[in-house]
């Protein structure tokens, strides 16, 4: 009931307010009259500010279908990117559409990969993604990968491409050894979170835990249930926890 009332008031506001604005604006200020008569132009001025308050993926998708200018504004302001299937879209199209991505969620193989039902060379390589984003998103801070093939080279590229990198979560990923996490520990000075969950990690005989710097570390959370060998807890104690 009250919602219907609101709606009526809203619509009235647009017609009377807008109409009044035209009549009044035409006499004094052309820009103003244009602004008042085309509400979508008014909104364009502050649309980016409005979109900052919208974080859900569904809302953002709806916004980008409203009009061309809304599509552009949404693309500029989307900082969190979710790609549920790495083959649904190419990295090229992603970096063409979104310019300011700070956080990426990317999923690869289907879930039945957990039961060895996907052949070993099936794909879901992280490489094309990390190499495309290396130049496009220098401010990338967070990466969450699930069921992806990630190599040590990929992790090295990630380390060297994103100076402000903070969070890496790898769930059910394979293709890398302990030297990948070692590079992160060694060079990612801003690293806050490193989660290795149910990954298939190869043994490179690298004492990767002792690669964390002894001082000036930002690390708040570290988990590596799936890494079974060569964890030097003494070295970890030395980093100050």
């Amino acid at each position: 009931m009250s919602k219907d009332e609101d709606r009526m008031v809203d619509l009235d506001g647009v017609t009377t307010g807008g109409g009044g604005g035209v009549a009044h604006g035409a006499s004094s200020n052309n820009t103003l009259s244009c602004l008042l008569s085309c509400p979508d132009h008014v909104l364009e001025n502050v649309l980016e500010n409005v979109l900052v308050f919208l974080t859900s993926r569904r809302d953002r998708n709806s916004v980008s279908l409203v009009s061309k200018s809304w599509y552009r504004a949404e693309a500029i302001t989307r900082s969190e990117l979710f790609i549920g299937n790495c083959y649904a879209v190419s990295p090229c199209r992603v970096i063409e559409r979104f310019q300011r991505v700070r956080s990426l969620v990317l999923k690869g193989k289907p879930r039945f990969a957990d039961f060895s039902l996907v052949p070993p060379n099936w794909g879901a390589h992280f490489f094309p993604w990390v190499s495309a984003m290396a130049s496009a998103y220098p401010w990338l801070k967070k990466v969450y990968l699930k069921h992806m093939l990630v190599t040590d080279d990929d992790l090295n590229l990630l380390v060297s491409s994103f100076p402000g990198f903070k969070e890496l979560v790898l769930v059910c990923c394979d293709g890398f050894g302990t030297s990948g996490p070692a590079a992160l520990a060694n060079k990612c000075r801003q690293l806050r979170l490193l989660d290795l969950i149910d990954d298939d990690v190869m043994d490179d005989e690298v004492d990767w835990i002792s690669c964390f710097p002894e001082t000036g570390m930002c690390l708040e959370s570290l988990s590596f249930d799936c890494v079974e060998w060569l964890v030097n807890f003494e070295a970890f104690g030395a980093t100050g926890g």
């Binding site: 009044h24 103003l32 509400p39 009009s67």
Partner: protein
């Protein structure tokens, strides 16, 4: 305590009076005042006389600090309140009352139609009044949340400039981007 009066002239040549302390809630006005180029009246060619009183009302309420109720709830802590425990509790109570009162004020203040919302957003943006911009922009965002593209267009009186073919293609693209393995 009375402060210096500032005069603001709207786009349609009407003059309004505001205290200097209140005017400082606006970054733009603050810079003009501090810049010392105050020449009697400040002209605001982008703000009409319909909306300027509403802006002044906000500035008066928020005086020197330009945050919304949320900000004041976190900040504004008295530095030496830890010295006296009794005082601490009292101050907390007063703070709560103040925040509640401000929230209620904001609710009433924000009760207006859509045209005012547009004008107020533009004015807040132009005058750099962060708290007011956040307040109005959040209201606009709430008119988008959970809505379909059609509903958003209706809410904001926007005409789509996509051709029907383009729109169909766009929907396909969005669906494609949303593609996810079942049961994942």
């Amino acid at each position: 305590m009375s402060s210096t009066k500032i005069f603001l002239k709207s786009s349609d040549d009407k003059t309004f009076e505001i205290d200097e302390t209140a005017a400082r809630a606006s970054e733009t006005l603050k810079n003009i005042i501090d810049g010392g180029c105050l020449d009697g009246v400040i002209p605001l060619p982008n703000v009409s006389s319909n909306i300027l009183p509403k802006v002044i009302e906000y500035c008066k309420k928020h005086g020197g600090d330009n945050g919304s109720s949320k900000k004041i709830a976190n900040g504004g802590v008295d530095k030496d309140k830890e010295i006296l425990p009794d005082y601490d509790e009292e101050e907390d109570k007063r703070e709560k009352v103040r925040v509640d009162e401000l929230k209620k004020w904001e609710e009433e203040y924000m009760d207006f139609d859509q045209q005012v919302l547009y004008d107020l957003m533009l004015a807040a943006n132009y005058l750099h009044i962060k708290g007011l911009l956040d307040l109005t922009v959040e209201k606009a965002a709430s008119m988008i949340r959970g809505r379909t593209p059609d509903q958003i267009r209706e809410n904001f009186n926007i005409n789509s400039d996509f051709t029907p073919e383009e729109e169909e293609e766009m929907i396909l693209i969005e669906d494609e981007w949303d593609d996810e393995w079942a049961f994942d």
